[in-house]
Amino acid sequence: MYAYVIRRLFSGLVMLIVMSFATFLMFFNGAVDPVRYTCGKACGVPGVLERNRAMLGYDDPVPVQYAKFVKGVFVGRDFPDDPALRKSAPETIARCDAPCLGYSPKENSTVTSMLAERAPISASLAVAAFIMWIAFGVGGGIVAALYKGRWPDKLIVGTALIFYAFPTFFIGLFLYKFVAIKWELTPQPVYTAFTEDPVAWAMGLFLPGLTLALFYIAGYIRLTRSYVIEAASEDYLRTAKAKGLDKRTILWKHTMRSALTPLITLAALDFAGLLGGAIITETVFNYQGLGKLAVDAATTWDLPVTVGIVLTLSTIVILANIIVDVLYAVIDPRVKLA
């Protein structure tokens, strides 16, 4: 198993290198000139574009820029990396220690510190959403399966579908505007760090978490329902019944074990995806998470942040896949990692 994990980590690393280089290539070979996003109205002033390009180092060939980026990852970098300036005005130089993923002049911050600042927000949101979607999604799916074809089933599946049919931003805006603002049923959803005030943290996460959860709930209800129904028709469930087991044992020990096992891997991957940020929800509720950072970086053509986000998301996804595979090997005795 260790060999397996090491092999997977290695291939993940190769993937990260390819992806980061591809990001650089795409960034500089599109129809859009990223420098235009650095000066706004001043872009029309002759010379500004060229000067900003030079200041950002965007006038270097892409491989050179990439090499500098890689160097930064291992030994850190200075921004701007100008030896003369280092002598005359060292206080203006931003130091980005290894592992340096870059420095965003726009955000006035190193990419790593931005990621570190925003990751807890996305993670909190993911946890809140995860708890709600598992509780309602899996719980609802089990109830629907047990009452298959009868009114509780129809009610649950129907309600889930209604929520599923609405776009997330609509649900988010609705919850925000009506539940929090108009009816004042909940406090305004503002992110508070867990370490600062755990209660405010949880309260603030309720609406955005629910918004995000509602997107997953419908899917998980349907999946859980069909997995439970499918598991219930397995031959070994007939065996369990023929053994004389009571209904509760059959349901919770035999049916759920097989129905929920595939859900665990799925939920783990979905959760990992959320760790990388929930773009729409974070935007609606103005949560400064990784998703919002990603959108902002993409819409303002902020290369360092874009690369940092791409790498972070890729790392999360790669690690999550490895973890899920290992997890699967643990929960499903038939699976052997090789």
């Binding site: 397995e234 031959d235 070994y236 007939r238 065996t239 369990a240 019944k241 023929a242 053994k243 004389g244 087991l245 009571d246 044992t249 035999h254 074990r257 097989s258 096992t261 929960i331 499903d332 005795p333 038939r334």
Partner: protein, 358 residues
């Protein structure tokens, strides 16, 4: 959940079998119907038989003949589904169709146990073999885990599984097909049931393993004294171990008799077909088996008259009214046959046209 089984009073049921009040199991006029969108599927349509204590009944038929459905009805496995079950199933003097779910549940596995066709799919993939057998024991016996474990190892040993103290902690996928079926048998026998229903217990296994499993079942039956219902499409299997054989076709019994009777003087053209499609050691190896031509009958709209007539090579409406009249099955006879052709003529046909090619 309450089942939707329909229970018809037994007095209205035409019996296919002689009454034997002493029999361990007595099935009378059993009907299992499934409502579907296409119509009512009459999977079992008036079946009666008895199984005396310590004896083995072989139920033979093609897929869809109703043999598995009827045996699952004994275990009440249709409860909670849409199946409509009627008739009587007396186990001792208890009608299994009348008792409550909880009472039936306590009998499952303890009094009546089942061995299923495919032991891989019949065992839970996520639990060890030992866990599943211990569970079967502990649900009916209030014993500690370690006692159950000892008992399980003992049973695994008894069914011929080597190193049972190690194998007990392995998962089904780590067992070979034959070992899995042995484990299933151990699970079925662990509560010392009086009736074992073995539903195609060897179909999924290699030929060599098949023989071992059958031998095992026979040996265990002698040891434990259980009754066995063995369900199969393969006459060869029942030949090894059944005392009595019931041939089913289209949800109904078409022939019943002792194993010798059914093998040496089979009365129904369908039984003849089964016999000739049976591989035999003394037959030239390359000679092709002759499966019965045609397809199993529809259970929603069965053929009129004799259900077998569309496939019967000796069908003759003019002489026997095979199409227009349903042939009777007289359970009072020792060797009843549901065929429109008079017995004498059938005997001649068998001796002259069928037997030589068997």
């Amino acid at each position: 959940m309450i089942g939707r089984a329909h229970h018809a009073p037994s007095s209205t049921v035409a019996l296919d079998a002689p009454r034997d009040e002493s029999a361990l199991l007595r099935v009378e006029g059993l009907k299992v119907h499934f409502p579907t969108e296409d119509g009512l599927v009459k999977a079992v349509d008036g079946l009666s038989y008895t199984v005396p204590a310590g004896r083995t009944l072989g139920i033979v038929g093609e897929s869809g003949s109703g043999k598995s459905v009827s045996s699952q009805a004994i275990m009440g496995l249709h409860r909670g589904s849409r199946a409509q079950v009627s008739g009587n199933i007396f186990f001792d003097s208890t009608d299994l169709l009348q008792i409550g779910d909880e009472q039936l549940r306590r009998m499952r596995g303890r009094d009546i146990a089942m061995v299923f066709q495919d032991p891989l799919s019949a065992l839970h993939p996520y639990y060890t073999v030992g866990n599943q057998i211990m569970e079967a024991y502990r649900v009916h016996h209030n014993v500690s885990k370690s006692a159950a474990r000892t008992r399980t190892i003992e049973m695994l040993d008894r069914v011929g599984i080597p190193n049972p103290d190690k194998r007990i902690d392995q998962y089904p996928h780590e067992f070979s097909g034959g070992m899995r079926q042995r484990a299933m048998i151990a699970m079925a026998l662990i509560n010392d049931p009086r009736l074992i229903i073995a539903d195609e217990p060897t179909t999924a296994l290699d030929v060599t393993v098949q023989a071992q499993i059958l031998e095992l079942l026979v040996g265990l039956q002698e040891e434990f004294g259980s009754s066995i219902i063995i369900i199969t499409h393969d006459l060869g299997v029942v030949a090894e171990m059944a005392h009595e054989i019931l041939v089913m076709y289209g949800g109904k019994a078409v022939e019943r008799g002792s194993a010798d009777e059914v093998f040496y003087t089979p009365g129904h053209p369908y039984t003849w077909g089964l016999l000739s499609s049976m591989p035999r050691m003394d037959r030239a190896r390359l000679e092709r088996l002759r499966p019965i031509a045609g397809n199993p009958p529809s259970l929603i709209n069965p053929p009129s008259g004799c259900a077998f007539h569309p496939r019967c090579p000796f069908m003759d409406e003019a002489k026997y009214h095979c199409v227009s009249q349903v042939p009777v099955f007289n359970p009072e006879l020792p060797h009843p046959v549901r065929c429109a052709i008079p017995e004498g003529e059938r005997h001649v046909i068998f001796e002259q046209k069928v037997k030589p090619s068997l």
